[in-house]
Amino acid sequence: MGSFDSFSDFLSMGGYAEYVWSAYAFFALVLVFNIWQPMLARKKYFKQQLKREQVQAERAQAQQNNEEYGNGSAT
């Protein structure tokens, strides 16, 4: 495998495994955080806004029904 003789050789990083891999692990963590966090926020915000619009639409519908019913009973 490239400059290493075997996969276990690659994992041991010539005795520097804990340094190399902890650096790359931290890097990977930061990458994941930077994508995952805004995507989660977006999902949450979408859910919240969709709900709000739905409630508003239902309220408008209910009001309309109410008015129709009111008019009907008056005549």
């Binding site: 490239g2 290493f4 690659f10 990083m13 520097y16 990458l31 805004p38 995507m39 739905q54």
Partner: protein, 250 residues
């Protein structure tokens, strides 16, 4: 050119265009990062003094260079907001801070970890290390300061002013290795000016990881800026259209 700049200041235009641009940027970023990381981690021969430990440089050097450029970009957005009152510039500046914080954190962490076997210590109050730590605190300070205000405008202005004041730290980070002869070495291993000293298989992977990491954080910036647009423009017709019941798509 000016028209393009003018359009860039429109949240709706930015939202639509970035939506189309993101898939391409994602593909390019994955390719660059994939090639750079596999090459640098597995194929480049080990350094004759540092052994395999120098492979940390493939993420340390790009993030360390990027953190002050990122700070400079945030300062430009802040200036654009203060001078021309461009709302988009403030949204981008707000999105810059948490990302810049994480970039600087990676630079510091990877440097520390590399330093344990190489320097024999994970931290020392060397000029470059200290000024980079100051940069980390500046990113955090800008975020905290903004959130300390109830008014969005007041927070934006305060954060923008602090961002601009913090620009004095950029030359200190950049020239610290020349001004003070402390522990951190100057640019050598992967620098362009020293290509004779190192064969291309040593410094080329760094260009792949460098541009890959840059593309990645630009993606993160676009994601955060888009979220900010949706929040601040939620009363605009085009945003309400996105949230219309039955149409909701991510």
């Amino acid at each position: 050119m000016w028209q393009w700049l003018f359009k860039l200041g429109s949240p709706k235009w930015f939202y639509t265009m970035s939506g189309q641009f993101m898939p391409w940027l994602t593909v390019i970023t994955v390719i660059l990062l994939g090639v750079g990381l596999v090459w640098g981690l597995a194929f480049t021969p080990p350094d004759y003094q540092m052994g395999e430990n120098y492979r940390i440089a493939y993420i340390h050097v790009p993030t360390a260079i990027m953190c002050y450029w990122w700070y400079g970009m945030m300062a430009c957005f802040s200036a654009a907001y203060l001078i021309w009152r461009i709302k988009m510039a403030d949204m981008a500046a707000k999105a810059c801070a948490p990302i810049g914080f994480t970039i600087t954190a990676v630079a510091l962490f990877t440097g520390s970890v590399w330093g344990i076997p190489t320097w024999g210590t994970w931290w020392i109050w060397d000029a470059r290390l200290t000024s980079t730590l100051v940069m980390l605190f500046l990113f955090a300070g800008v975020m905290v300061l903004r959130s300390a205000f109830d008014s969005v405008d007041a927070g934006a202005k305060a954060a923008a002013v602090l961002s601009l004041v913090g620009v004095v730290n950029i030359p200190i980070v950049v020239y610290s290795v020349e001004w003070w002869n402390t522990l951190h070495q100057g640019a050598s291993n992967l620098s362009l000016s020293n290509t004779q000293a190192n064969p291309p298989e040593v410094w080329l992977p760094a260009f792949f990881t460098g541009f890959g990491i840059f593309g990645f954080f630009m993606l993160a910036l676009i994601l955060r800026t888009r979220n900010e647009i949706l929040q601040r423009e939620r009363r605009a017709d085009w945003v309400r259209e996105i949230f219309r019941p039955g149409k909701g798509e991510f």
